[in-house]
Symmetry: C2
Subunit: 123 residues, 2 copies
């Protein structure tokens, strides 16, 4: 995946509506009207989001009778996930650091006591 | 991770310079001057990119003497990777479909059409 393609895919994912559209498409292909239904958003606005997703290779579109169906194309998501896994050792490290910190705090006289700050509910 | 946080992280990753900065930081903490060195870009321009990365939680910054050091924070990358893995079965499927298509093409010697089953809605 080229650098520009990665930028297009990450840019397409940087919007909650577009991510929701992808989630919806995991259930099956859908028309613009079906995709627009859950949103307080016009069909032209949804169409613009679909254009961004299509441009990033995240959906393909086919015509069936008078409707255009959007179809999820997951391959670019595999590619960005591969890109991200190179950082895995760093997030593992930060978890280890956190574990060490917690162990140190619990070991040093704090006895790991967890104070309940919320009051009891029983009457 | 909230929807807005996901958007911030994906947005921060949607730029090749910012991704290159993260790659550089996997080698260790660095000053703005060190981060700017490989780029034909001013230090203020790099600082603006660092601000975006910091805002997305992807780096933290500490002061050492007169220099500000940037440090990779990989945790948000773990979180977006978790979000992406929900699509794994779809890219696995598309690989399987591709394998089937290739097998069909190789087996049937140039019969270029693959029948696509489209569901009929009865009722």
């Amino acid at each position: 995946m080229t650098s520009d393609r990665l930028s297009l895919v990450f840019g397409a994912l940087a919007d909650p509506t577009r991510r929701a559209i992808l989630v919806r498409l995991t259930e099956g292909d859908a028309t613009v009207a079906e995709l627009a239904a859950p949103f307080v958003m016009s069909q032209p606005a949804i169409s613009r989001h679909l254009k961004v997703l299509e441009n990033a290779g995240l959906i393909s579109r086919t015509r069936r009778a008078t409707a255009r169906l959007s179809h999820l194309e997951a391959e670019p998501l595999r590619e960005v996930t591969t890109w991200l896994t190179r950082y895995q050792r760093f997030w593992d490290e930060s978890h280890e650091r956190l574990d060490e910190l917690l162990a140190a705090l619990q070991g040093k006289g704090g006895r790991g006591t967890v104070a309940r700050t919320e009051g009891d509910d029983h009457g």
